[in-house]
């Protein structure tokens, strides 16, 4: 059974699981300082120079698993002592350069940054180099390598820089909290804050859902997660954790698709508001374009609002693939509707922390997850939202609108579209922006990040009981 992609993820999970286990047993306070020794026992280091450093880093992870640094609003934090201070020299010519005659590297370089030394070997003029990597792509000896840090490489909004002592640092004014660096750092030196303790507390104080009811809103990207078990077992497991009911966030997506199509018709141009990282990116990097952001709540918040309007004491917890959602729930416009957000990684830690093996669960016929339509479910992949808005326009009987969507797959494509929009050269009237390449199914909080198949999401969409957006939301009276 393979739950995670890397050992870094596994290490983070071990910490989350242990924190959850102790919290479920009301033993966290007296045992919190013992966690590093539990996870790194013995005297032989397996990850760092010595077990003491390993334990010191685990202690930092425990802090993050317990909510992290309250004075830092960013969901993602650098664990200073875990940063290995990777080299930062960018593209470099290695020993493998044979000083050939073709000089493809020189031809490929758009800035004339490559010259040749007395042995005919290539040299990069760092004053001219723009780190585009074209030389590396064309070298027949693969003699040119990138020494860019993985975290910097992962961060497409350029929010990561190096401090004077070579530790990675995140510029909060640029960071969109997508979590790409969290997943990409090979030393696990950047971690997302976790609110599992908040969730455990909510569940406990509900006294078995008698004081108030706790609802779990599960993102549609669940279709590509927990693949080692059946969906019914995951639902049953979430109920065993103490949740009263498990609802598809995709139903919120149906609500959004319906409202978004009407808003688009009325305003004529919109950028989507579902992906919190995309919204944050516009507000930070393109504040002049903020006026175009859809006024709709995200699917999570829209559904949370529906639940809380009908059950005033209800508590709502979102479970999804996204680190940025943890930040979204703290926004003033969302806070009244959603109490907390956790990731699929953290859900796995909660299961194991409470000793729930979902594979052992015999799921009952009522352990199902089916509220939304095909269109709500395909929000999980790039292009899904644009498809759903097209359907929304159709179902609302809007035929006098020439719908021209552009689906931006990943924050770099978002940037391109926004630059075009600013220059008045964007050939579209609806911008679907997803910060993660592939859409939510590639979110940083996923258990596994393998090649995600768009088809898999569509298949899950087709399994939905409701076939149209209007049918799915017609029950929401």
């Amino acid at each position: 059974m393979r739950k995670f992609d890397t050992k870094v993820q596994y290490l983070k999970y071990q910490v989350l699981k242990e924190v959850a286990r102790l919290a479920f047993n009301d033993e966290l306070l007296e045992n919190i300082t013992e966690i590093p020794k539990t996870i790194v026992p013995g005297k032989t280091p397996t990850m760092r120079c010595c077990v003491y450093k390993e334990r010191a880093i685990i202690a930092e992870r425990v802090k993050l698993a317990s909510g992290g640094d309250k004075s830092n609003p960013n969901i993602n934090e650098v664990i200073d002592i875990a940063c290995d201070e990777c080299p930062v020299s960018g593209y470099e010519i290695t020993e493998s350069c044979r000083g050939c005659i073709a000089h493809r590297c020189e031809e490929a370089c758009p800035r004339g940054a490559i010259f040749f030394d007395r042995d005919q070997k290539a040299v990069i003029d760092k004053n001219k180099c723009i780190e585009c990597g074209r030389c590396a792509k064309v070298c027949p000896y693969t003699a040119i390598i990138s020494r860019k840090r993985p975290c910097e490489n992962a961060c497409k909004v350029k929010a990561i820089t190096m401090s004077e002592d070579k530790i990675a640092q995140i510029d909060n004014s640029k960071c969109i909290e997508c979590g790409a660096c969290v997943y990409q750092c090979p030393f696990g030196a950047i971690m997302d804050k976790s609110f599992i303790l908040e969730v455990i507390d909510l569940l406990k104080k509900s006294k078995g859902n008698t004081e108030y009811k706790v609802y779990a809103l599960v993102a549609p990207s669940i279709s590509s997660q927990f693949t080692y078990a059946k969906l019914g077992q995951v639902i049953a497991g979430i109920k065993q954790l103490g949740f009263f009911s498990v609802v598809e966030t995709a139903l919120g997506a149906d609500m959004v698709a319906d409202a978004e199509s009407l808003e688009l018709y009325e305003r004529g141009f919109l950028t989507s508001s579902c992906c919190p990282a995309f919204v944050k990116y516009i507000n930070q990097a393109f504040p002049d374009l903020s006026e175009h952001i859809s006024h709709n709540l995200s699917p999570m918040a829209a559904l949370g609002k529906y639940i809380k309007t009908r059950d005033k004491d209800a508590k709502v917890v979102f479970i999804g693939p996204c680190t940025a959602k943890k930040s979204e729930v703290q926004k003033e416009s969302v806070r009244p509707y959603v109490d907390s957000a956790i990731t699929f990684e953290e859900l796995q830690a909660l299961f194991d922390g409470k000793g729930i093996d979902i594979m052992e669960i015999e799921a009952a016929p009522e352990d199902v997850l089916d509220n939304a339509s095909y269109y709500g479910r395909i929000f999980a992949r790039s292009g899904g939202l644009a498809d759903a808005v097209r359907e929304g326009l159709k179902e609302n009987g809007i035929s006098d609108f020439d719908y021209q969507p552009v689906s931006c797959d990943g924050i770099e494509e978002c940037r391109t579209a926004l630059l075009k929009l600013r220059a008045g050269r964007l050939d579209a009237n609806f911008v679907e922006g997803m910060a993660c390449v592939g859409g939510c199914i590639a979110g940083a909080g996923c258990l596994t990040h393998g090649e995600k198949d768009k088809e898999q999401v569509d298949k899950y969409g087709r399994e939905a009981y409701e076939k149209t957006i209007k049918d799915a939301i017609s029950v929401l009276k």
Binding site: I307, A364, E366, D370, E466, D471, S474, V475, L476, K477
Partner: protein, 79 residues
Amino acid sequence: MKLTVCIGSSCHLKGSRQIVEQFQKLISENHLEDKVELVGTFCLGSCQTGVSVKIDETLFSVAPEDTKAFFEREVLPRL
């Protein structure tokens, strides 16, 4: 009167939408918009016997094909 229909996943698959649609129609046909408040909720805690429907605080189990009969038998006399 508050008429609550469970729209949780399990009841949904057993036909909550069809029941909601029929209730809407029946309420409008009988001009009861001011007297009956129709609402949805996620889970009434009786998934096995769904579709769960509550009249104020009393819980019932309704099948989509029995909606009209249920409305006449349980809802109308209570008004």
